[in-house]
Amino acid sequence: MSTTRQEPDLRGRKVLLHDMCLRDGMHAKREQIPVEQMVKVATALDEAGVPLIQVTHGAGLGGNSLQHGFALASNEAYLSAVAPKMKQAKVSVLLIPGLGTMRELQSAYDCGARAVTVATHCTEADTSPQHIAYARKLGMDTTGFLMMAHLNDPVNLAQQGKLMESYGAMTVYVVDSAGYMLPGDVTARMKALRDALKPETEIGFHGHHNLGMGIANSLAAIEEGATRIDASVGGLGAGAGNTPTEVFVAVCDRMDITTGCDLFKLMDMTQEIIFPMMDHIVRVDRASLTLGYAGVYSTFLLHAERLGKKYGIPARDILVELGRKKMIGGQEDMIEDTALNLAKERGLLPTPKAA
């Protein structure tokens, strides 16, 4: 006798979609999205009913740097151009403590941002209290975002979420920055988080598609009570991209999960606006699959490819080594350091100059 696996019954669930293509997608565009194009994309997302749109440098507030690249415009210029054009959508920003500061958050608020994602590595939530508190003081929709969540077990991850909640986070996210998690990993973490947090605190999930699990993982999260899902229209994001918004909305429509988004409008903008913007096809390929397989921060991809070429080392070797050395988001400088070390080991560089 054979049984067919039943889809979980998620009928009637409501999910708030948070689009990432103008923030995570900045990574895939090497931070080179012109202001006019941001406005065009954001306007189309607004038109399609997407309620929350993130707009910043890929690394968030304070991201403009040699470490993370310089965008075509300042965060303030992007936000001031996009925010006034929104008819229903709210504009959010990313803030990673250690990179972004409260001064930059104030400035983003002054330019129209009304929601913020305060992101830390999944074990370092206690670096976020002042930023979360400041965002709440400004009256912003405030989310705590636990990155590289596969590197922490469910119970301890939930404790980190609890800390963010205690600082004032209204929503706590499990973030699969490396696109490494399988649905079971997501289920365990979301469940632990739901059990640990107050009932009024929302939970959410941010996926990357490096193992093709973006949609499945997001559904697993909803099953455990997630009411917010990050996705990116056309999948434009770091690594193999984020959970593609239009695909996710199609699946939600089929499952009677309410997103309030217009599927056909999203499909159209993907085809007509997003795909033509892409410098490379954002998909699972050799390097992005390596990220997911080895559990490496998705943003490292393009840096590893560039530096791999410079020093004659395959990007995959650099990424695997970074995974082995347990490098985390923000340590992009260690990509060149690792490439240099590998090049020295392989006799591709003279040994360092002695005094």
């Binding site: 470490q67 670096t127 002042q130 347990k326 490098m327 400088d333």
Partner: protein, 304 residues
């Protein structure tokens, strides 16, 4: 030989590590440890190491300053209480070495500008931050060769080496360090990034220093300047090591450093702790040597 008596304020990682450093010094002697929690492990450790302790904050120390001959104090509390601590102790003629990001006194990086501060008889010098101590010497090494338009540093720190004070006040760390890249490093603009990595076993402190020079970098002179600066820092932090670079890419100069600690209080991965306490100790020693030689005399500041 006579030693200058010192008080330590703050019994966390930094204060405890300082006890080890001061005990080895030829001119400094740790006498008091000041805390705020009578039950704290830090105060118990200090007592075990032979220091007098108070759990009543700086006010608990003040009545003993004159009788115990305290001349130098190290503040490893937080930016928010430092100003008050400093005012009270300066009034009694005690010189302050500030290890918080308060930065109310001039910023000090020993191989760059310690001499100037000692000559001016500053009563409060600030040690910036661990990242500042680890990176500003390199920025200065480049900027003394040719103008630096922009300096950007990335400090990667082992999670276990970062105490609760720094974690809760990360922005102060960022602001103070960024500012010091300009004021002490000599760059026209500066930006500091901090990453806290929880890997096990803990990673050794890493620092990447990037400078954008004005005009083409003078490669040979920059390499010489950086290598000789590294030797200067190694005099008080032996584990300060070049891993890669200087790498030149257009106007960009990149230097990849690692800092292994001496393993006094925390294991050797916590180079960030060592470079801060070693710099503070080096700074106090310079003042102490001058006091002992009679070339400078600390004076009580006027009450404000």
């Amino acid at each position: 030989m006579k030693k200058i008596k010192c008080a330590l304020i703050g019994s966390g990682n930094i204060g405890t590590d300082l006890i080890y450093k001061l005990k080895r010094s030829a001119v400094l002697e740790p006498v008091w440890m000041v805390g705020i929690d009578a039950a704290s492990e830090g105060l118990a450790r200090a007592r075990d190491m032979g220091l007098k302790t108070t759990a009543e904050g700086v006010d608990g120390l003040l009545p003993h300053v004159r009788s115990d001959g305290i001349q130098i104090a190290f503040d490893a509390t937080s930016a928010y209480v430092h100003a008050e601590n400093s005012r009270k102790l300066n009034e009694l003629g005690v010189m302050m070495v500030d290890l918080t990001p308060a930065a109310i006194g001039p910023l000090c990086v020993p191989p760059v500008n310690l001499r100037q501060h000692a000559d001016k008889l500053e009563m409060n010098v600030n040690m910036i931050s661990c990242a500042g101590q680890a990176t500003i010497p390199i920025v200065h090494a480049v900027s003394r060769v040719q103008p630096v338009d922009y300096a950007e540093i990335v400090a990667s720190l082992a999670s276990k080496s970062i105490g609760p004070g720094t974690r809760a006040n990360l922005d102060e760390f960022t602001y103070t360090t960024s500012d010091a890249l300009v004021r002490v490093g000599g760059a026209k603009r500066g930006k500091a990034l901090a990453i806290i990595n929880p890997a096990e076993p803990p990673m050794i402190m890493r620092n990447t220093i990037n400078c954008l020079t004005e005009g083409e970098p003078q490669q040979a002179r920059i390499i010489d300047s950086v290598l000789s600066m590294i030797e200067e820092v190694q005099k008080y932090v032996p584990g300060y090591q070049l891993v890669n670079g200087p790498v030149f890419d257009g106007r960009r100069v990149s230097v990849f450093m690692k800092v292994a600690g001496l393993g006094d209080y925390l294991p050797t991965y916590a180079g960030n702790l060592d470079i801060m306490t070693a710099a503070a100790c080096r700074t106090a020693e310079m003042f102490a040597e001058e006091i002992l030689a009679g070339t400078i005399q600390l004076r009580a500041t006027e009450a404000a």
